[in-house]
Each structure stands twice: as C-alpha cells, then as structure tokens.
Amino acid sequence: MTAVLSVAGVHKVFGERHVLRGVSLDVAEHEVVALIGASGSGKSTLLRCVNLLEPVDDGVIRLDGEDVTDPRADPDRVRRRIGMVFQAFNLFPHMTVLANVTLAPRRVHRVPPAEARDRAMALLGRIGLADLAGAYPDRLSGGQQQRVAIVRALMNTPRLLLLDEVTSALDPELVGEVLALVRELRGDGMTMLLATHEMGFARQVADRVCFLDGGALVEQGPPEQVLGDPREPRTRQFLARVIASGRL
C-alpha cells in the first residue's frame, strides 16, 4: 500500500505552547484514520498543518511522496489536492450554494462554468440538496451547510479529505445526515483523515483510530482495540471521561 499522507516527527509551537510534539502518522490510500483526544490535544492543529494553513516548526509532511513542508513547494498547488471541511462550515455567505461549490473549479481549475455547474448539480443532487442550489448558506440548516461544505471540498477531486470536527457545531438531530455522507464517501474509497469527538462514529467509519494527548500520538490501532481495549493508561482515562459524559 502506498501512503497518500505521511507525517513524520512534526512539531508545532504557538508562542509558549508546544502543541504538536513529534507526531508521526501515515494514511494509506482508501484508508480512513480518525484522530481522537481531548480539546487542545492537537487534532485540529495537525489537520491545519497538513493543509499548510499552519507552517510546521519541525518534521516532514509528504503527500503522495512529495515533501509539502519544503518551503519551495507551492502551497496553492498542494491544497488543490487536499479537501478540507471545517467545524463551522465556513461557507461563503455572499455566494449561493452553487457559487460556493463551483468557485474552486471555476477559478482554480478554469473549468468552463457550464461543466462546473453540471458536476455541482450532480453532487448536490446526490445528497438531496439540488433544490437549494440557488439559496444562500444562511437559509440552510447546519447539517445542510456542512454537507454543502463537503461537496465543495469534493469538487477538487482531492487525494485526501481532512474533516475537522465536522459535527461539533451541529444540533444532535442533524449529526446523522453529515455522518451518513462521510460513511458514503468511505464507501467510494475516499482517503480521509478526520478529527472527531464522536467515538461511536470513529468506531463505525475509521479503519484506524489515533489517540492524541498533549500533542503526542499516544496510541493507535483498529477502532475495536483502541476504543474497546486500550493499552495505554492515558487512553483509558480519556475514554473513561468520555463514557462518564455520555458521549460513547
């Protein structure tokens, strides 16, 4: 198996805080890897580093073998091969759903507008949102907005999809529709690295679960093992807290 993403010894420092302490992690093609851990454990920072939204302070990140942390690499070209979905959706409020989804194909890839539109409508139709193509994001529910954001990221046909707590800002009854879409993408063979608070979801969708604590990767393995029978005491403590709060 070829690794789509290879993270090796990555450090990140924000001022005095050592947010990532030498994280190493590979994601193989068609693999879904879930990052779990408490708030501030470095999950989101790791995703932002992979997408070059934050420069790393040490270590190497490779995408399909290419060192993207090399300062000579063009970050715009790298990001075109990576899709990212954010906790707060980050749709562009001044654009319709269709304009949001077709922005990257039109402007980045110079796809003819009609072609971009057709592809967008096909994808929106697949998630049952074709009717809302002309609506502005504020009119949509949180779950609809997040599904549009996922479609927007998919329009670049990314090699790798990064999902950063995509259900954390949603009402409980809207979480399901977003998770169903992610499961569907997994069925399509999309390579994904996701940070999540939903242990149940990590168990269902991930091939591998990685537990981060204090910026270090403490334990990783199949979901049944990491979530069901963790080897590390810190993982056990974290899961005990999650169970106590009723989130598992």
């Binding site: 990576i82 402007r107 502005y136 504020d138």
Partner: protein, 282 residues
C-alpha cells in the same frame, strides 16, 4: 383567516396593545407640535428676525440666484462623480496594498501606510492650495487645469479615508473565510477578489456612503482655487446684493443632492442583508 380561535385573554392583550399604540402616536404628535411651535416662536419672535428673514430667506433673491447656483451645482456634481470614483479606486487599491504581507511588497506597504497617515491628517484646504497653486508654479509642460488639480487634491484626501474604511472591512472578514478559500486552492489574490473583498465591501457600504456625502460637501471647497461651483456662484450673487439668501439656496440644493445618495445606500444595504439572511425569498 385565523389559524385558531383566540382566547379572551389574548383578545384582551391585543386590545390593550392597540390602545397603547394609539396613545403613543397621540403623545408623539402632541409633543412634536409643542416643540415645533416653541421653535418657531423662538426664532420668529427674536428681535432681529425681520432682518435675518430679509437677508437669508428672501424669495425674490432666491429666485434670481437659482439659475447661477444651479449652473455651479452642475460642476459640483461632475466633480463629485469623478472624484468619488477616483477616491474609491484609490482607497481600495491602498487598502489592498496594506494587507500584503510578503517582504517584496515592503516598499509598497510602507508607501501606502505613509500616504494614509499623511493625508488623513492634512487639512483638505491646504492640500487644495498646494495642488491648485503650488503645482502650476512648477511650470511643467502639460500641467492640467486648476479644476483637475483641485479634483486630484480631493481624491488624495478622501482616498486616504476610504482606504481605512476598506481596510476595516477587509479585517472584519473572519480568518476562517480565508482558510476555507485557501483550502480550496485559491491563491491569495483570488481569495481577496472572490471571498474577502465582496464581503468587506458589503459590510462597509454605509460608512463609505457617509464619506461620499461628506465628499459631496467638500467638493465645494474647490471654489477656493477659482472654479465657479454652486458655493462660488452663491458668493458672487451675495457680493452683489449683500443678501445671504443665495447661500441658503445652495445649501438646500446640497441637501437635496444628498438625499438620493443616502436613500440608495440604505436600499442597497437592506437588500443585501435580506438576500443573505433569506428572510425574503424574492
């Protein structure tokens, strides 16, 4: 018509609210009337009112002055259009320069910073004098007319204010919007052009209009350099008759000129807000 039959409690509440509404309208009407009468009595009852009315509100003088003032106003309007466009373009350009972070752009950024600091501090009158009288003094070939030079002074001064308004707008767009745009592979320029600036401009439309209304008044200062605009025309009329009514005529015309400008932005702002929030579907 009603979806359900209202209970007596609700009917009583609604009747009470109706009475309250009528009452508050009545109170507003009475107090407005009282204030109006007092103001009128205060002004017209003043010992010098007769003289003031003759030298500021004389209908005959007003009618006589109107054509000349209107003629001058046309110059104000023309200048306003050109200077407003110029200042908006300049302001947007300067604001965009000030957001650049790469070291290559350091001199441009420094220049833009220096410009906004200088021209926001420099009184417009001094800028106009320097441009209208100083620049021709250089005796360079192809020096434009005083009108164009005065216009340039206006554009430079207002460009600095407008640049700051645009910059505030640009900075008000949440960083997550940039992150989302860059994640899609858009370059810095594409992100500014398609994601940040459209949101920034919409947000600062009201303060921008405010600057344009202020500019509309300051366009009159160009008369200091010689061109005959509405205020200059009024001054000429006044110096003939020693009657200040032409100034009042010019003032009223300026106010009338501002009303559509204000109305248009209000309309644009409200429409954009509604469209995005989806309260109105059409």
């Amino acid at each position: 018509m009603d979806l359900f039959e209202k209970s007596p409690v609700q009917r009583e509440r609604e009747a009470y609210r109706r009475r309250q509404t009528i009452l508050s309208v009545a109170v507003a009407a009475v107090s407005t009337g009282v204030v109006g009468v007092l103001l009128l009595a205060g002004i017209t009852g003043a010992p010098g009112w007769k003289r003031v009315r003759e030298s500021f509100f004389d209908l005959h003088t007003a009618r006589a002055a109107l054509p000349a003032v209107l003629d001058g106003l046309w110059l104000n309007i023309e200048l306003l259009v050109f200077c407003a466009v110029g200042a908006l373009v300049l302001g947007l350009g300067i604001a965009s320069l000030r957001t650049l972070r790469r070291p290559v752009f350091f001199p441009l950024r420094a220049l833009a910073n220096g410009y906004t600091y200088t021209f926001r501090g420099l009184p417009l009158i001094i800028t106009i004098y320097v441009f209208a009288f100083g620049v021709p003094g250089l005796r360079l070939s192809g020096t434009p007319s005083v009108l164009v030079l005065g216009g340039a002074a206006l554009v430079l001064t207002y460009g600095a204010y407008i640049a700051e308004v645009f910059r505030a707008g640009i900075e008000s767009v949440h960083p997550s919007q940039r992150a989302a745009a860059r994640s899609l592979g858009l370059t810095y320029r594409q992100t500014m052009r398609h994601v940040v600036l459209p949101q920034a401009v919409r947000r600062v439309a009201p303060p921008l209009l405010n600057d344009l209304v202020a500019m509309q008044k300051d366009v009159g200062l160009i008369s200091l350099a010689g061109p005959v605009d509405a205020i200059r025309a009024a001054q000429i009329q006044t110096s003939v008759s020693y009657d200040y009514t032409p100034y009042i005529v010019a003032g009223v015309l300026f106010v009338l000129l501002a009303i559509p400008l204000v109305a248009v932005t209000d309309w644009v702002t409200v429409r954009a807000a509604r469209r995005q929030s989806g309260e109105v579907t059409l």
